[in-house]
Symmetry: C2
């Protein structure tokens, strides 16, 4: 079982991710072409904040200050968002769908390496806030109406996964506790490689679901 430092790091990274997902969704909501689209994204943002609260409460129960525990993870997540600012509503939806999917796959893999109570919390906060079905519907409809969009959005998806992997590596390089958790959990570096392969395979499936070449 990982020690408390690793658990705190894991939950704090996830908590900051929820806080920044809230920001991103709230901001993207303003690009919505309709009031109902805007309300839909705002409601997804609200779900992320509910998840944030659960994680912050668990951090406090573990004796950590959420603010201090999250601080080391802010730069990488802010860099990710700064480098992947959507140019329009559709890029925002692809980012919400692909980004949430990647993060969820990654944390679900890691959830296998921790105690049952922590695993249950992680799986709960990764539950889809309804964004997947909404994003898939809107993006597919847009591509059906304007097939030329597919090329740009496919490139965008590749950029998102590239930045996500790059920033995750930054975090792992700085947080020994998480690297140890990951390597011990997967067994060895070959296990880590297999995990990355599973995550990128699922990313390709999501791109295909959107009607895009991953």
């Amino acid at each position: 079982m990982p020690d408390d430092a690793a658990l705190i790091d894991l939950l704090a990274a996830l908590a900051y991710g929820e806080l920044s997902a809230f920001d991103r969704l709230a901001e993207d909501a303003r690009m919505a072409p309709s009031l109902s689209g805007r309300a839909a994204l705002a409601q997804m943002a609200a779900v992320e904040i509910g998840h944030y609260r659960l994680l912050a409460e668990r951090l406090i129960a573990l004796g950590a200050s959420p603010e201090e525990a999250m601080a080391p993870f802010a730069p990488a997540l802010e860099r990710f968002h700064a480098r992947t600012v959507p140019a329009d509503w559709l890029e925002g939806l692809v980012k919400a769908y692909v980004g949430d999917g990647l993060a969820a796959d990654f944390y679900r893999e890691i959830a296998d390496f921790v105690d049952p109570a922590t695993r249950e919390l992680i799986l709960e906060v990764l539950a889809d806030a309804g964004s997947a079905a909404f994003a898939v519907r809107e993006v597919r409809a847009a591509i059906a109406a304007q097939p030329v969009l597919a090329g740009r959005l496919a490139l965008w998806g590749r950029r998102l996964v590239g930045e996500a992997i790059s920033q995750t590596q930054h975090v792992l390089a700085e947080r020994d506790s998480l690297t140890t958790l990951l390597i011990k959990g997967t067994g060895d570096l070959a296990g880590v490689a297999a995990l990355i392969k599973r995550i990128t395979d699922r990313h390709s499936e999501r791109m295909a679901t959107l009607g895009l070449n991953g």
Copy 2:
């Protein structure tokens, strides 16, 4: 009892108010000097969206499209926000506290003129999302540390109430159903004047609570 058109207008104005309060709080959260302040404002924003959903559901139950019903109220609320963009975190908190307070006082007065089920819904969505206590604590602490702030924030409060009254007049001038509801409810123009007096008195009390001259 007011007719359905007036009820739909009332609920739609309130719904758009919640949607734009979400935006404002989500945006102001980014000015927070700490992660805990940012999370606090994001959580308040999430509460507003929960209220929005209740109002949208009631509009649908009344046979209205929330999107169409809200559209007439968007310009006035957007004008209000565009003319009262906070320059910093403290102005944002004063706006959240004073703006929510003014809106809540206004809708609570009108709630007396509608059927019990609608009144109950209105009172539920006006329930304080915790922003009052948070804003009062932060603003008072800031003024205690730096008394010179009080002058600027007092001016800011007066500008907020002026813009709120001005935009409310715009809305009433365009929506006969709401004007009729207000005049029938209060009895006559003297009744409307008394209502405005009660609302501005409560605004002055709120300013005093913040440690400011209203």
